[in-house]
């Protein structure tokens, strides 16, 4: 339809055109400051041959997976509370979103203030006499990345789950109770399966972009928390190797897409088996 054409074309072009160019770049080579446009699979060979790439890719997926699991698991009870228990739902939703309307960079920075060597956490623990040396395992590792991102993505997990919970007709829960099931069983047999679409949506919205995040890892990740996006960023920046950067981008997209598809199929299938 003509009305949706501008939006569709716009997104289509901005998705398709860069993709084409990305593919083109990945087939070129760069030495120092000059690009050689003879098509070659050199970048792919380099990427596949390098265990570092595999390592970072795997770590990115694991970290993103951990972020997704932690964020969604922490968010579910909140969404549940707002959907079924809270009186003023919009007020609660507002309350959940307000912290996210400060600058993203500053929020990440705020976590450094908390987790840092003489940060809030260590200061408090020291003051309470629980420790007498600042803890150093709080910052500059995967843990810090996961925590910071679980915070950053909170509303993106809460909202889709809330939406799918809200769609549940309360009489379904009553019907389950009426048929003999207690609250826990009702949750597992009715609520959970019915919110699987919301969970899947939340997971995708969090997992996919997280794999591509480089700001958070570079601020709080230390060297243990670095991810594939950092390597990509280095290729476009310091290393000045755009072909390799393009190759890594494409490979990252493919891996993420693959994991996402497997996940969606798995989660849907799992949901179907609950009876």
């Amino acid at each position: 339809m003509a009305l949706s054409a501008p939006a569709t074309l716009y997104v289509g072009l901005l998705v398709a055109a860069p993709l084409v160019i990305l593919v083109a770049y990945s087939l070129w080579t760069q030495t120092y400051v000059t690009i050689d446009r003879t098509p070659t699979l050199a970048s792919y060979r380099e990427a596949f041959g390098d265990p570092l790439v595999r390592h970072l890719m795997l770590r990115s997926i694991l970290i993103a997976g951990a972020v997704t699991v932690v964020t969604v698991a922490l968010a579910y009870p909140i969404a549940y509370f707002i959907a079924f228990r809270a009186r003023k739902k919009t007020l609660w939703l507002l309350l959940i979103t307000i912290p996210f309307w400060s600058s993203y960079l500053l929020r990440v920075f705020a976590w450094k203030l908390i987790l840092g060597f003489n940060g809030v956490m260590n200061s408090a623990l020291l003051a309470l006499g629980i420790i007498d040396e600042p803890l150093t395992f709080l910052l500059y590792n995967e843990f810090a990345v996961v925590l910071t991102l679980a915070h950053a993505w909170a509303p993106f997990a809460i909202l889709p789950i809330y939406v799918s919970l809200q769609k549940i007709d309360p009489s379904l829960l009553e019907a389950s109770t009426d048929l003999g099931n207690g609250p826990v069983e009702t949750f597992l047999r009715v609520t959970l399966p019915l919110t699987i679409p919301g969970i899947i949506a939340a997971c995708l919205i969090i997992f996919i972009p997280t794999v591509g995040d480089y700001v958070t890892p570079s601020l709080v990740g230390g060297s243990d928390g670095k991810m594939i996006a950092n390597l990509i960023q280095v290729q476009f920046g310091a290393a000045n190797n755009w072909p390799l950067g393009a190759t890594l981008s494409l490979l990252a997209m493919l891996s993420v897409g693959f994991v996402a598809i497997v996940f969606v199929i798995g989660a849907t299938g799992l949901g179907r088996r609950i009876r």
């Binding site: 007709d169 019907a175 048929l179 003999g180 099931n181 009715v190 179907r272 009876r275």
Partner: protein, 367 residues
Amino acid sequence: MTETSIIELQGVEKRFGRFVAVSDMTLSLRAGEFFSLLGPSGCGKTTALRMIAGFQEPTAGKVVIDGQDMAGIPANKRPTNMVFQSYAIFPHLNVGDNVAYGLRHRGVPKAEIAARVDEALGMVELGGLQARRATELSGGQRQRVALARALVMRPKVLLLDEPLSALDKKLREQMQFEMRHLQQNLGITFVMVTHDQYEAMTMSDRIGVMFNGRLVQVDQPAELYARPGSREVATFIGGMNLLPAEVRADEGGTLTVETPGFGTLGIAENPKVASRAKRIVVGIRPEQLEIAAERPADYDATVRGEVSDVAFYGESVHYRVRIPGIDAPVAASVPNYFHTVDHKPGDRVWLGVQGASVIDLGAEDKK
């Protein structure tokens, strides 16, 4: 309070904050009867039903099921099952799994589950539809699945909250019929909530009429129609012309009343009406009025008026007749035996009535 009563409500009350949704409800249901709660929207029918089911705790009074006080017993531990107004079919399960849902909880062996699900689906004439997805069912089929899902649990009491209101007229009438038969065959107590007087009357052994949170009359359908206990009940069920009347004499169960238009009539005293008074209200059902061009013979009272409206209903014709001395036009309905409308607006006609079909509705000021 008889030996065989399966459900007893004793002074049950439900408040939501300051609002009293159900007040002082006392009721005893016999095992095996088909009981309907009838009343206008918002009168507290659903609330009453949900207190029996255990989805809401009374704020006062007692719910006893099968001799056991239900206080503190949650819905999932009660010997009742419910058919929800929206049916509440689990959308993620197919028909068979929906019906098996409660049995799986009980840990019934697989083979037995399969057999009982088959049997229940057979009862509601949905045999063979086990694998159908819930989303692919028609309204009538969903209703049947909900019924089967509750029946398969073999409850002592089946609670139904407006089980037919989502269906279209034809299907509704068919299901009324089938549900009544099912209930009679199984011998389970049915408690049904409805706001449709015809549905209540055609299906029930007894009907409880509710207004504003109060149970105002409990009776068999024909009794309710013939001897409503109040003006509210009288006008809620069927058509009813109301006339003020003055009691001239009161002896041996017969009242002699003076009415505008129809003059002096001897009518039966209504035992369902609580208060006695000098100025009362009497009711005449439209179908009890004879309408004719000539003064009809053999009627206890006749009166002359002018037709103001005619509405053709197919099997019957409804007239409104303006009568001097009576404020609102009087409604009279006539079976349409001869496929003709005999009187037109503006025609002068006679109305005739028998004293025996005039209903005593109690004191005038009583609302």
